[in-house]
């Protein structure tokens, strides 16, 4: 080694040593806690998400844009909430106690819950919120989830206790309140001056642009780690990533599958790969030709090369599906059904038997979530091998919605735990029941499942329901898409969620 190189080497190692030592000291937490907290305290967490001029601070009357959801999940609370693994924990609720047949549920609230304007949060506020969600004059996204509740039969027992009397038994009552559209607000709630119980409180809001919140210091559980939260609207995914890369935001919600590898390769950014419960079903209307015949539906399910669809449509960020809803998640775990695989010969045979050989059909899709268009295109290619011609029609959102529920063959997306997904998409009258499936045995099994409050017993019934879906359902559930987010390297407290998102729990995020 020459002298010059030796000096360079020594300088580098000395620098590395100093840096390394400082890093080690910092990571061991040797720095005084107060100093570390002061660093967090001083900062603003900046989050980019997609929204529009229709942005709202109303957790019930919302169009459900990402900006809205991120906002209301952080300024209001639910009675219960999803844990990262999709199990349900309690939030505002201290306990839910059923009667013997689950037709009466007593909700006890936690003590010491304060609203942002310093008032006590109690039973009256819960009753107000339930009535607001179920208000028929002002339709809300959450109303369908708790349509089994008659607001007239929700009564106050004492300041922190509410009694729900139901017409029919409902076992998973505590779970339903974890849904994002069932946030609780105080009596007299005014979305123009939003007051909640959440970890952040309102400072300013400009629809379609940005909103600012600050930490609520009287939060009823561990308070937020950052002082200020700023949520900015960025519609374009590339712009969102550029803002993250350029240091203008700390977290970006919308990451297309195509960009994921770039983020993974960048040391300044981290990719958050949430194994979400989001299915992108290709639905077949079971009440009209050609899918009225179960053999045609099964043939189409056998056409799908699921691995290829996940690989191409989701760039590998997902898991293969087995024509049953609900990713293998808590609380029931994997479904004991053999994985369906591509079998073109069997598909051809079934189509022949049904008299539908050489079928030509339109498949309607929309640029909704990533993968909706791509999966249709891949499936159309795969169908050629079975002699089926599929014309993929990519529609605009409003055009897709104009005929939603009536398309014979289309692509949709759904993300939720199993029973809520079933209620909305596999039962007659469900607003997402695009396959128009109405199977008497399945309906009876659902009724039975929701009447059971014991989780293990309920899971046994759920497995039977999934078997029925697998054998006769109207959806090709080829895969489950992961939800990808990105954040600045160095942020702590971010973990992947199955049903919720780390963006819904920003109080846990800190600048490590």
């Amino acid at each position: 080694m020459s002298d010059k190189r030796t000096i360079e080497y020594l300088t580098t190692t000395r620098r590395n040593f100093l840096l390394g030592t400082t890093g080690a000291v910092l990571s061991l937490g040797v720095l005084p806690g107060s100093l570390a907290f002061a660093a967090d305290d001083a900062v603003t967490l900046r989050v980019a998400a997609t929204g529009s001029n229709a942005d709202s601070l109303d957790p019930h009357r919302t169009q459900g844009q990402i900006t809205d959801i991120v906002r209301f999940m952080n300024i209001y609370d639910g009675l219960s909430e999803y844990n990262p693994d999709a199990s349900v924990g309690l939030s505002l609720a201290e306990s839910f106690t059923p009667n013997a047949d689950s037709t009466e549920w007593t909700l006890k609230l936690k003590a010491g819950i304060k609203t942002h304007d310093g008032k006590d949060f109690g039973a009256d506020d819960i009753i107000f919120s339930v009535k607001r969600i179920l208000d028929k004059e002002h339709p809300t996204k959450g109303s369908a989830l708790i349509s089994f509740i008659d607001p007239a039969n929700v009564t106050k027992v004492d300041a922190a206790t509410v009694l729900f009397k139901l017409k029919d038994p409902y076992g998973p009552f505590p779970d339903v309140w974890a849904n994002r559209y069932l946030r609780m607000v105080p009596v007299g709630f005014d979305p123009a001056k939003p007051v909640g119980t959440g970890a952040f409180k309102y400072v300013s809001f400009t629809p379609g642009r940005e909103s600012v919140f600050e930490r609520f210091d009287d939060y009823f559980r561990e308070k937020a780690k950052v002082k200020t939260l700023q949520i900015v609207n960025i519609s374009d995914a590339a712009a969102s990533i550029n803002a993250l890369r350029g240091g203008q935001v700390d977290m970006a919600y919308k990451i297309p599958f195509a960009e994921a590898r770039i983020i993974e390769a960048d040391p300044a950014m981290k990719l958050l790969n949430n194994p979400s419960a989001m299915a992108i079903p290709i639905y077949m209307r079971t009440d009209v030709e050609p899918f009225k015949d179960v053999r045609v539906r099964q043939a189409f399910r056998l056409i799908a090369n699921r691995e290829q669809m996940v690989k191409v449509a989701l760039a590998g960020y997902g898991a293969v599906g087995n024509d049953v809803q609900g990713r293998s998640i808590a609380p029931c775990g994997p479904t004991p059904i053999e994985q369906r695989k591509q079998d073109i010969a069997q598909a051809r045979k079934l189509l022949d038997e049904a008299g539908k050989a050489g079928l030509t059909i339109d498949l309607v899709t929309v640029n909704g979530t990533s993968g909706m268009v791509e999966c249709a295109q891949v499936f159309a290619e795969q169908a050629k091998a079975a002699g089926v011609t599929i014309n993929v029609k990519v529609t605009e959102e409003a055009a897709y919605l104009a005929n939603y529920g009536n398309w014979t063959f289309g692509v949709d997306f759904l993300s939720d735990a199993y029973l809520p997904v079933v209620a909305r998409s596999l039962l007659p009258g469900g607003t997402f029941n695009t396959s128009h499936w109405n199977d008497a045995d399945f309906n009876a099994l659902y009724k039975k499942a929701v009447s059971i409050s014991n989780v293990d017993q309920r899971c046994d019934v759920i497995h039977d329901m999934q078997k029925a879906e697998y054998e006769r359902g109207g959806n090709i559930i080829w895969g489950f898409a992961n939800t990808l987010n990105a954040y600045k390297a160095g942020l702590a407290g971010i973990e992947p969620y199955v049903v919720d998102s780390p963006f819904y729990h920003l109080r846990k995020v800190s600048f490590a």
Partner: protein
């Protein structure tokens, strides 16, 4: 004032009145056509507001609340009557006055377009004259190649390339995204406008300078320019006294069109830089079938075209020599 100048100003006044009356008629036709077009699109705002969960009853209720169940002509006349009273209406989606949504975006768009044109026009003139007088030289060929390359790129590719170059990967000079604070006026946040403004300038200059170059070359080849040269007039005097004024007219017309187009038509650039401008407001409103916002945005863009055309026509009229349709 002489009789001749009085007559000229009367002519201009008459011409302005005629143009304005025509413009108002044109705006009425445009607004009606846009209204009909939004009706012809499948789906409506009630479906967008309520989403997939909506029941038929709920959709019907929202349609009634928003008067969407009334005949198209009634809806249009209702909108027009309100407009004539200065009321642009309320957004069907966000339920706030249309002006609250559009005014800040109109200001933003006008500000960056004015800023970019203030740079692009003089630069284009200088480049146009420079390359025309050095036709087929190295500078001309290099600038031409660069300009064709920039124009050949789709807008978003150019935008992303500039982001990589100036914001994220090579240099870190400007913020990649125009995250404007809604509470502050746009002119106090110019650092955040650099990227869209640079992109606009590049697009405008590369088009406009070629036009100037072409017309200057044309004028340089006219007989009167050659005659002036033969008479021994200095090249500088020929260029600035005789060539440039004649070459300016098409450039001014083009600059006007570019200005008006840039105000509402650079949706892609607005998306790439997250810039809250008029183009994205219009595109979003069409997607959501928010008819009052669509109507107002189209109206603003149409009026911009009209006003800019009037101004460029007047300027061209002033610059055109007498005997070739200019002033007497």
């Amino acid at each position: 004032m002489t009789n001749a100048s009085r007559a000229a100003s009367r002519t201009i006044r008459g011409w302005l009145v005629r143009r304005s009356a025509l413009a108002i008629l044109m705006l009425l036709i445009v607004s009606f056509l846009i209204f009909c077009a939004t009706q012809a699109l499948p789906g409506d705002v009630a479906l967008i507001v309520l989403g997939k969960e909506a029941s038929a009853d709920q959709v019907q209720m929202v349609r009634q609340q928003l008067n969407l169940d009334q005949p198209v002509l009634v809806q249009y006349l209702r909108w027009l009557t309100a407009l004539l009273q200065g009321d642009f209406g309320t957004s069907l989606v966000s339920r706030v006055p249309v002006t609250d949504i559009l005014l800040p975006r109109i200001m933003n768009s006008f500000f960056i377009v004015t800023l970019s044109m203030a740079v692009a026009v003089p630069v284009s003139l200088a480049l146009g004259v420079l390359t025309a007088t050095r036709k087929d030289g190295l500078a001309d060929r290099t600038i031409m190649a660069g300009s064709i390359m920039v124009n050949a790129l789709p807008e978003f590719v150019l935008g992303l390339f500039l982001v990589l170059l100036l914001s994220t990967s090579v240099f870190h000079v400007f913020p990649a995204v125009s995250l404007l604070s809604p509470g502050k006026p746009i002119w106090t946040q110019t650092d955040r406008l650099a990227m869209p403004v640079i992109t606009l300038i590049l697009l405008q200059v590369t088009y406009l300078y070629r036009l100037v170059r072409g017309t200057v070359i044309d004028v340089l080849q006219t007989e009167y320019v050659q005659f002036a040269a033969l008479k021994g007039m200095s090249p500088r005097r020929i260029l600035f006294r005789h060539v440039l004024p004649n070459a300016l007219v098409p450039a001014i017309q083009a600059a006007g069109t570019i200005f008006a187009f840039s105000v509402g038509g650079v949706v892609v650039i607005e998306y790439v830089f997250g810039f809250p401008g008029l183009g994205t407001a219009l595109a979003d409103a069409v997607g959501m079938r928010d008819i009052p916002v669509v109507q107002a945005a189209v109206l603003v863009i149409s009026v911009t075209f009209f006003v800019v055309n009037i101004i460029t026509d007047i300027v061209s009229f002033m610059l055109t020599p007498p005997g070739r349709g200019g002033r007497n």
